[in-house]
């Protein structure tokens, strides 16, 4: 986790964006010191609502730069995720994915039956292919890294932050003991078809930058359509 924040810190520096205008919206509790460290406004909302909260902020003050940190495969907020991507809302989303890997859990605790049960309980379901979901709903930038791909993550963040539209970076960050396992079991494939990057058993995790494209954002589309219809009578949304 700290690694990701560190990468975010460096990513902001590298992208040259204004921290004063940056708001971090999360549904995961962060140490308050993060605020002092990053120098951004931090909003810790309730579970799953971070993207919707950030949507409201962006539409009320288009100058804000919104970084949304969500966890756990977007379970509770999946709908907001899909629709924000569809609208191409100008958000920078970092999904910190700390799923349990079935095989690893089994390997890790062969004797401890109770833990095995819990671990494998989580994994009888097939995981969501988040990059694919994001791309198919219209995200303009999709990348995936593990938390140990530190330099790549920084570059990715720096690259994505200045872009307009819905950006997703999935960061695979399970518990610290397993980080190295995932790092070693990953392969970098830039521009890979997102349909093929699903996380499966016995397969290497594909990381890299999968999508980078341009699409009209929600606010641009809103302004364009209303200028077209209303002409000078239309008043754009502006910060108070």
């Amino acid at each position: 986790m700290d690694k990701i924040i560190e990468a975010f810190h460096d990513g902001i520096n590298k992208s040259g964006r204004d921290r004063e205008k940056m708001c971090m919206v999360t549904d995961i509790a962060y140490d308050p010191e993060v605020v002092d460290y990053l120098g951004v406004d931090l909003f810790h909302t309730n579970r799953g609502r971070a993207i919707a909260f950030a949507t409201g902020m962006k539409l009320s003050n288009p100058n804000l730069i919104l970084a949304v940190f969500i966890g756990d495969m977007a379970t509770l907020g999946g709908n907001h995720f899909v629709h924000a991507a569809r609208r191409n809302m100008d958000l920078f989303v970092v999904c910190v994915n700390d799923f349990r890997y079935r095989k690893v859990a089994a390997q890790e605790t062969p004797g401890d039956f109770s833990r095995l049960e819990f671990s494998s309980y989580c994994s009888i379901e097939q995981p969501l292919n988040l990059p694919h979901l994001a791309r198919s709903n219209g995200a303009v930038y999709v990348a995936r890294w593990t938390a140990l791909h530190h330099e790549d993550l920084i570059n990715s963040m720096a690259e994505a932050l200045p872009q307009a539209g819905f950006k997703l970076i999935e960061v695979i960050s399970p518990k610290p003991e397993l980080l190295e396992f995932f790092y070693l079991n990953s392969e970098i494939k830039h521009g890979e078809d997102t349909a093929k990057v699903g996380i499966e058993e016995d397969k290497k995790i594909v990381v890299g930058k999968f999508v980078e494209r341009e699409r009209e954002t929600f606010i641009d589309a809103y302004n364009k359509q209303h200028y077209k219809v209303l002409g000078d009578k239309f008043i754009k949304i502006a910060a108070e």
């Binding site: 609208r87 009888i124 097939q126 969501l128 979901l133 709903n137």
Partner: protein
């Protein structure tokens, strides 16, 4: 003709049997749908499919959410559930896992399934729960009076997009495919036979199947956008729909009065939730024995 003569003679018309008596709740008819609506056609296709398959109706459950299409459950003589807005899929998930012998059909609208129920839709597809979803897409929230839906094409007018819609619409088949559905098809309510066939295939396919039915909303979508009556929309579907089986789902966006690509797009195999669960139970048992 007999009925006409009876009316002329001012006699009572004897009740005649309707061919769908066994499957429809005739006491609930007349239904609430407006003249020119396409939902009735989707229901007809579904009923035809049930009759063709000769399934035991006691083992079929129809679950609906809220909206015009949400009323379907109330007209079909199976165990029917009219749930809250957007929650048809989780309700159906519970039904299926509670009694795996049941065949569950979720019959609901675009707003119910893709908008408020979008998250449930993704996750039911991801888990690959054995459910058939029939999603009637009429591009608008009709029950509440014509608001913009996530499926409303760009530049279409609705009451909450009074200056033209500027949002990019959802592509339901693509959403279903990317979330993991095993069977995805789209038809308009004009393609009755093909729709019926698709419903049969989806019904019999183990796993999460989705059939999207493009349907005219004569009262709101057509009227606000000056597209004519239901019959005009049907003519439009006739002239502008193209059947392309196996088309990549990313090409299935629908623009305002643009060409509509229909067909069967996805038909693949993935283990269902129940299968995985059974496998897992076995595994746990062996581990238990070993330890």
């Amino acid at each position: 003709m007999k009925a006409l003569e009876a009316v002329e003679k001012q006699e009572e018309i004897p009740p005649t049997e309707h061919p769908m008596d066994d499957v429809l709740r005739m006491d609930r008819i007349p239904h609430i749908w407006c003249p020119g609506c396409g939902i009735g056609l989707a229901v007809t296709a579904f009923v035809n499919a049930l009759e063709k398959m000769q399934v035991d109706l006691d083992k079929v459950c129809v679950v609906s959410g809220i909206g015009c299409t949400g009323r379907v459950a109330g007209y079909i003589k199976t165990d029917s559930f009219h749930t809250t807005h957007g929650r048809a899929l989780p309700f159906a998930t519970g039904l299926k896992l509670g009694n795996p012998d049941l065949k569950i059909v979720v019959f609901s609208g675009d707003g119910d399934i893709v908008s408020i129920g979008g998250n449930h839709f993704i996750h039911a597809a991801r888990r690959n729960i054995d459910i058939l979803v029939i999603c009637v897409n009429n591009f608008i929230y009709a029950m509440t009076g014509g608001q913009v839906a996530p499926t409303t094409p760009r530049s279409a007018y609705t009451t909450t997009s009074p200056f033209g819609n500027f949002e990019t619409p959802s592509n339901i088949p693509q959403l279903a495919e990317s979330a993991g559905a095993v069977y995805v098809a789209r038809w308009t309510s004009l393609h009755m036979r093909r729709l019926t066939q698709s419903i049969i295939e989806g019904f019999q396919k183990p796993g999460f199947s989705m059939v999207e039915v493009i349907s005219p909303c004569a009262m709101y979508y057509s009227r606000i956008n000056k597209l004519g009556l239901g019959i005009d929309m049907m003519k439009f579907y006739h002239d502008n729909s193209v059947i392309k089986h196996g088309e990549p789902t990313e090409n299935l966006d629908i623009g305002f009065q643009s060409q509509i690509i229909v067909g069967k797009f996805v038909d693949r195999e993935r283990p269902t939730f129940s299968e995985l669960y059974k496998g897992w139970k076995k595994e746990v048992k062996t581990v238990k024995r070993e330890s």
